[in-house]
């Protein structure tokens, strides 16, 4: 985004002290007379603070003995090596619908349609299809693209609403990602929930994302064709255009009071 002659990267470089004297003076001149530019600069400043402070406590935590032992050992410790090999880590990545519907999802393992366990796509664990009330609350309250940490999860579980739309039956639906889900946590669920007649969120499709691949550029994308399941589902049930920006904000502000048809 360009704001009166300064692109985001230059503004960010200014905030980070990466510009030379001449460019710095240029930016300062523009900043002095443009409050929206000042706000954007502040956003860059705050985002760096957020990341730094969120991780600041790590430095104060004692380093686990196992980690120290590893480096202090004169010989490679095969046991530790095996121990840490055992633990897999699924990659997760998706892009936010900031510029519309760009939803790159990872591979789905389990599909639940219409609240009933449906097609199993190669996963080994059944994921409950019951709607987690905390997820429902997050869907009621948060705008698309805003992350919500779930209560009682100590930061390990969150919901990221991605999209709001009205389905063919006139009900509001939301596409979301639920990270840290599942009985043991650590799973990511890609799902759609719709409001029923009683004003309760009901899951209509959930796909568990456990498997992923990284492509050359570092982006994780589907390892198979499964990732399109949710996208296909939305495409086949959506009526009209997605509800975004101020319209979505108004809907959330009203407590989803209006019917999708009206």
């Amino acid at each position: 985004m360009m704001t009166r002659g300064i692109d985001d990267e230059k503004l960010m470089a200014y905030v980070d002290g990466e510009l030379g004297a001449v460019e710095r003076a240029e930016v300062e001149t523009l900043l002095a007379r443009d409050s929206s530019l000042q706000e954007r600069a502040e956003m860059f400043r705050q985002s760096a603070d957020l990341a730094r402070l969120a991780l600041a406590d790590t430095l104060r935590e004692p380093v686990p003995d196992a980690m120290l032992a590893k480096l202090q050992a004169t010989e490679h410790d095969g046991l530790l090596k095996r121990l840490f090999r055992r633990f897999g880590g699924a990659g997760r990545q998706w892009s936010l619908p900031l510029g519309g519907l760009e939803l790159a999802t990872a591979a789905g393992l389990l599909l639940v349609v219409g609240g009933v366990v449906g097609t199993q796509l190669g996963g080994d664990t059944v994921y409950s299809d019951a709607m987690d009330p905390r997820v429902a609350d997050a869907l009621s309250a948060a705008g698309s693209g805003t992350v919500v940490v779930l209560d009682g999860s100590d930061g390990a579980e969150d919901v990221l609403p991605l999209l709001t739309y009205v389905n063919a039956d006139g009900h509001y639906c939301r596409h979301y990602l639920h990270h840290g889900a599942g009985p043991q946590g650590g799973q990511t669920v890609d799902g759609v929930a719709c409001l029923d007649g009683g004003g309760n969120w009901q899951q209509v499709i959930t796909v568990r994302l456990d498997a992923a691949e990284v492509e050359g550029d570092g982006y994780v994308t589907a390892s198979g064709g499964e990732s399109v399941l949710v996208d296909d589902f939305i495409e086949s049930t959506i009526a009209g255009a997605p509800i975004a920006g101020p319209d979505e904000a108004e809907l959330i502000g009203s407590g989803w009071a209006t019917d999708g048809n009206s």
Binding site: E9, M43, A54, Q72, W94, V148, G245, G253
Partner: protein, 172 residues
């Protein structure tokens, strides 16, 4: 113990922070630290004296992480590593608010694309210059800057939300 090993040990807290930022979780971060240390130890001879040891270490961690995501397609075991104690604060309201904000930020970071997350952590958390980050990750400076600015705007938006949504929700 060699000097380099001693330096590596001194760097562990920072490596943990880097890995936690990269993976978005304490458990996976520590797991990555172990793997990165293993690889670093087996390649100590490749590190060139006089170059930055931290950059070399972060580069190893980053490449282990990318490989790990590429190779491991399923996760059947939940890690039960030594529990990393949660951020323990007092009971004051400010502590709670700060902790909530930190948790929200970590959650938002998990939702960033990995390639944006790594530049975010290197520059904003580790304090690398754009050039240093570019050299560490083998990228052009322009790529570092575009990923970094996208990462920061997304992070901010995910944590604070769309101002329009927040305003309307307050009114309602």
């Amino acid at each position: 113990m060699s000097d380099t090993r001693t330096q590596l040990i001194a760097m562990l807290p920072r490596l943990r922070r880097f890995c936690r930022g990269l993976t978005g979780s304490a458990e996976e971060g520590d797991e990555l630290v172990q793997m990165a240390c293993e690889r670093a130890l087996s390649r100590l001879h490749q590190w060139q004296e006089g170059t930055r040891l931290d950059s070399w270490l972060y580069r190893i961690a980053q490449s282990v992480w990318i490989n790990k995501m590429r190779q491991e397609k399923t996760r059947n075991t939940v890690p039960d590593l030594e529990a990393v104690s949660a951020v323990a604060g007092g009971d004051s309201r400010q502590d709670v608010e700060t902790r909530d904000l930190h948790q929200k930020t970590m959650a938002a970071m998990r939702h960033l694309p990995p390639d944006q997350r790594e530049v975010l952590v290197l520059v904003c958390v580790e304090g690398f210059s754009y050039r240093e980050a570019a050299e560490t990750l083998g990228l052009k400076i322009g790529t570092v800057m575009s990923r970094l600015s996208r990462a920061r705007l997304r992070l901010w938006q995910m944590v604070h939300g769309d101002p329009a949504v927040a305003a309307a929700a307050q009114k309602g």
